[in-house]
Subunit: 286 residues, 2 copies
């Protein structure tokens, strides 16, 4: 894959890492970055990760052959729809948002015929934010979900898959709704539950937390504004996830109430089996 001009909109951890990854692999002749904080942009320029900086995506995207939107999930559709009429024919637009159904639904059928959008979600987040944590190998060995619907242009889909593969990612193609249902359980529920667990900790108990508490709640340090957007866009799957969790917690509660050792043992053993399997099947992304 060889891109002439790549535009990256949003210069956080993901946008910054895409810039570095593309530059290190020589995948684009020219990289344009769109951000809103002068300091971040200057750093990206100084680091040689980008060739030109912009403060308005409407100035950068018209020059691009491929544009990746790495902005908060509630801005992506709006930014893409506003830029679309100004785009070069044949441009590929994609994103890195943690939700997919609402974004794809909002964009689909509303683009000019010469502009294609394919949704993406690299599963390479972190509770760390900002381009200072950017890493050109962030996507190496990680899964990126690329979305496909009945309306997705097949060449644009192929190019999107190739783009993420070029950055070292393992690509899974699925429909946007399946993505959101799955990520509700693998990412959004953990975030919500970690936040709930932290919020019931009285401050004076901080000294009695150890590695277990730290690991379990690490993601609760994520950016609240970003996560509010993600949770709201995936609210239906999350409500279903909360129902499922409620059933599971009720099983634990009943076993505790009745001091039912065999059931408690079985619930914990079942969880251990699933968790252990995870380490074995997914060691490539550990």
């Amino acid at each position: 894959m060889k891109i002439d001009t790549l535009a990256i909109v949003g210069v956080g951890l993901i946008g910054g890492s895409i810039g570095l990854a593309v530059r290190q692999r020589g995948l684009a002749r020219r990289i344009l970055e769109v951000g809103h904080r002068q300091a971040s942009m200057d750093r990206a320029l100084a680091r040689g990760a980008v060739d030109e900086i912009f403060f308005d995506h409407l100035e950068a995207v018209p020059k691009a052959d491929v544009a990746v939107f790495c902005t908060p999930v509630d801005l992506i559709a709006e930014q893409i729809l506003s830029a679309a009429p100004t785009c070069k024919p044949g441009i590929l637009l994609t994103d890195a948002g943690s939700t997919k159904a609402a974004i794809v639904r909002n964009i689909q059928g509303r683009l000019p015929p010469h502009v294609h959008f394919v949704g993406s979600h690299p599963l390479a987040g972190s509770e760390k934010r900002g381009p200072e944590h950017a890493d050109g190998n962030l996507f190496e060995g990680k899964v990126t979900v690329v979305t496909k619907t009945a309306e997705t242009d097949s060449r644009a889909l192929d190019n999107t898959v190739e783009f993420w593969r070029s950055l070292g990612s393992r690509v899974m193609v699925m429909d946007p709704e399946a993505h959101d249902r799955s990520l509700a359980l693998t990412s959004h529920m953990p975030h919500l539950v970690a936040s709930a667990l932290v919020s019931i900790l009285a401050p004076e108990l901080a000294a009695l937390t150890a590695t277990g508490f730290r690991d379990t709640t690490r993601i609760a340090a994520g950016d609240p504004a970003l996560w509010t957007g993600i949770l709201l866009q995936n609210r239906e799957s999350l409500l279903a996830g909360l129902d499922l969790l409620g059933v599971s917690l009720a099983q634990f509660r009943r076993a505790l109430e009745t001091s039912d050792r065999p059931t408690l043992d079985q619930l914990l053993a079942q969880a251990k089996t699933i968790r252990d399997a995870l380490d074995q099947t997914n060691s490539w992304s550990a």
Copy 2:
């Protein structure tokens, strides 16, 4: 602190690490270990971490000046009570159990006058088990809770505090019930919740888990039998913890149901503040 003969009952991660820590710091002339798996015991001997091995605590504890019980929480009181009549006068008995109230309650008032017990809990667990993960610096910089009740002998308490400090631990003295209430929130609830989160994951979603899910659920890989014992011994505090968590999850649910962005944002921001403070105040045990 200088011990003549130390007995360690139970040769898992904690027992093994105590052996190594004491040996490396030259705190005891002779270390006896009591276990039940020949292979583990041979390894401990070969490694030079212990001087003598036993398969029955009733043979080792009578020779000891200090004995530390690192067996599952439901065995500790029983083992201590059975060994007590055979102990040398002035012996100090302590433990490393993750619960304290039931253990202290079962032992207190039932020991011969020449035998003292003080409860301990080093917060240095791991989802890793077994002496092969033992580490002589495991307790360095970690908190150990030492329990005190109206009946606790003050010299035995001082010696117990000194023992853990000699291993590099930071000691907090508290009553057993306060320990259990606190640990319910900082350790036992996270374990239960991580297990519940894992158990609602359909196996085909494994490929869509990333670092967030891994961190959040890591402790669910802990030993089910050990954790069943811990959760049951602390069931009342856990039931109270489940109530608290239920309130917090209900707030998230309501905010999602009503698409209430400001409330969701506030809930996440509150959690982030608590979580961030944890990293700052507790960096010594990170």
